[in-house]
């Protein structure tokens, strides 16, 4: 038994023949998280450059002959004025101030703030509670009951629940991603200001219980399968992102020699209006308690 490499290889390879659950990860999720990672990496680089420039500037001022540096303030990135954005198009929602260094409308975006790691051990709510709150919220906002539900609710850091809703030209999805965050809801929402989209300012609403909702602009990874995320930061440290997506499971094709899926078709529009997604998120947050 395992006496030589061939025997070990033969034995261990039986493990790969085990039946596997369906792949829950979609390309869209990976790309979204990947883009967020790029933002954070760039933010780190920018922060490093700012720190070096500030240090050189401070050194130059302090070493200037005859100048002791008293009362000298070193300029930092906050010396720039944040650009002005249009007023909120929805009552009760505010346009989030974007960092001055955000390249609005560009293909890349940076944010100096990074997420505070979650502290404590906030447990995930049971799937049944989350699913019930989402179903009720969908019914309230869209007047429809989800036609299909796809949960993946056993990850230790992130869990997913996808429901499909009818559209006039097929099915769309509402994808719920559950995770945790550290710091205050506002601090976490600030750190996520450029997490989605192309640096367009998101809209924000703070509920009476301190929950922060952050609605991002529609994002077209492909014109056929647009998506629009809305992040919910509860004061208890739980975070949910509900993404309205213009495609369904039927639009996903298994990869060659693989059970992973790729989106190949879509509705060309979202299953929700901006107002409906906002109403849905608020109802969902309220339903969770």
């Amino acid at each position: 038994m395992f006496d030589n490499d061939d025997a070990a290889r033969h034995a261990l390879r039986t493990l790969t023949s085990e039946p596997a659950p369906p792949v829950a990860t979609t390309l869209d999720q990976v790309v979204r998280r990947g883009k967020r990672r790029v933002f954070i990496q760039r933010a780190g680089s920018v922060a490093g450059v700012v720190a070096v420039v500030a240090a050189i500037g401070a050194g130059t001022i302090l070493l200037r002959p005859g100048d002791q540096g008293d009362g000298v303030q070193v300029g930092t990135s906050n010396s720039a004025t944040a650009p002005t954005y249009p007023t909120s198009p929805m009552p009760g929602w505010e346009v989030v101030d974007m960092p001055a260094y955000a390249e609005r409308g560009g293909k890349s975006c940076t944010n100096n703030e990074t997420q505070v790691p979650p502290t404590g051990n906030v447990p995930f709510l049971p799937l049944a509670a989350v699913q019930s709150a989402l179903t009720i919220a969908v019914k309230q906002a869209l007047g429809a009951v989800p036609a299909a539900t796809f949960p993946s609710w056993s990850g230790s850091s992130t869990r997913f629940l996808v429901v499909e809703v009818p559209m006039d030209n097929g099915m769309g999805q509402l994808q719920l991603e559950a995770t945790r965050y550290g710091g205050s809801p506002t601090r976490a929402a600030d750190a996520d200001r450029v997490a989605y989209g192309n640096c367009e300012a998101p809209l924000r609403r703070t509920l009476a219980d301190g929950t922060v909702l952050q609605l991002y602009p529609k994002y077209d990874y492909h014109p056929k399968w647009p998506s629009q995320p809305l992040a919910i930061y509860q004061p208890n440290g739980r975070k949910y992102v509900i993404t309205s997506a213009g495609y369904s499971e039927a639009d996903m094709m298994p990869g060659k020699d693989s059970t992973s899926k790729t989106i190949v078709n879509g509705r060309g529009k979202l299953p929700t209006t901006q107002e409906q997604l906002a109403e849905l998120a608020e109802a969902f947050a309220g339903g969770l308690g």
Binding site: M1, F2, D3, D5, A7, A8, R9, H10, A11, L12, R13, T14, L15, T16, S17, E18, P19, A20, P21, V23, A24, T25, L27, Q29, V30, V31, R33, G34, K35, R37, V38, Q41, K107, N121, P123, F124, L125, P126, L127, S152, W153, S154, G155, S156, S157, T158, Y221, G255, K256, D257, S258, T259, S260, K261, T262
Partner: protein
């Protein structure tokens, strides 16, 4: 930009499930394997424009293994109390007892040695390829393989499962 994303989409489609199975062999849990594979692909996406296509498979294996080892280093701090039992997939068809015993024994092998065994024998990589993936020497891979096999053998015997590996 679109071409780059299209390339990544095709690579994801072709490789994600394989990566998830390798991760599963390392960690023994499908939900964790899904997270490890997803994290690896997220990191890969962030570096996609800098990775040469001929080395991308090796790079993916490197990231996957590092993500797995990182989760082991973080240890129990990452573990959460869940309200319901996680989904498990019962081994089906031929040889479920052998597979269960082998999987249990493999999980008893220290993570570093386990990663070497999985890359060598499940992913079917050469000693040189494993060394490249782990960023160590071929000598280290050989010694870790020998130690890993010894640990696997001991754990398997300790499990007192009286089955012979078919073809072994």
């Amino acid at each position: 930009m679109r071409g780059r994303d299209q390339e990544f989409a095709e690579f994801f489609s072709a490789r994600f499930d394989g990566a998830r199975r390798i991760a599963y062999a390392m960690c023994g849990s499908w939900p964790d394997a899904e997270e490890i594979a997803q994290a690896a692909f997220v990191k890969l996406y962030a570096r996609w424009s800098k990775v040469r296509i001929e080395t991308v498979d090796a790079y993916l294996r490197t990231i996957l293994t590092r993500v797995f080892l990182d989760t082991k280093r973080r240890g129990r701090a990452r573990e959460q109390v869940v309200a319901e039992l996680p989904d498990t997939i019962a081994p089906a068809d031929a040889g479920p007892a052998e597979r269960m015993a082998l999987r249990a024994a493999l999980l008893a092998v220290p993570p570093g040695q386990r990663a070497v065994l999985v890359l060598r024998f499940v992913a079917d990589l050469s000693v040189e390829q494993v060394a490249e993936a782990l960023g160590c020497s071929t000598g280290t891979v050989k010694s870790q393989t020998a130690r890993g096999l010894a640990a696997l053998r001991a754990a398997y015997k300790k499990g007192d499962v009286n089955v012979e590996m078919r073809g072994a």
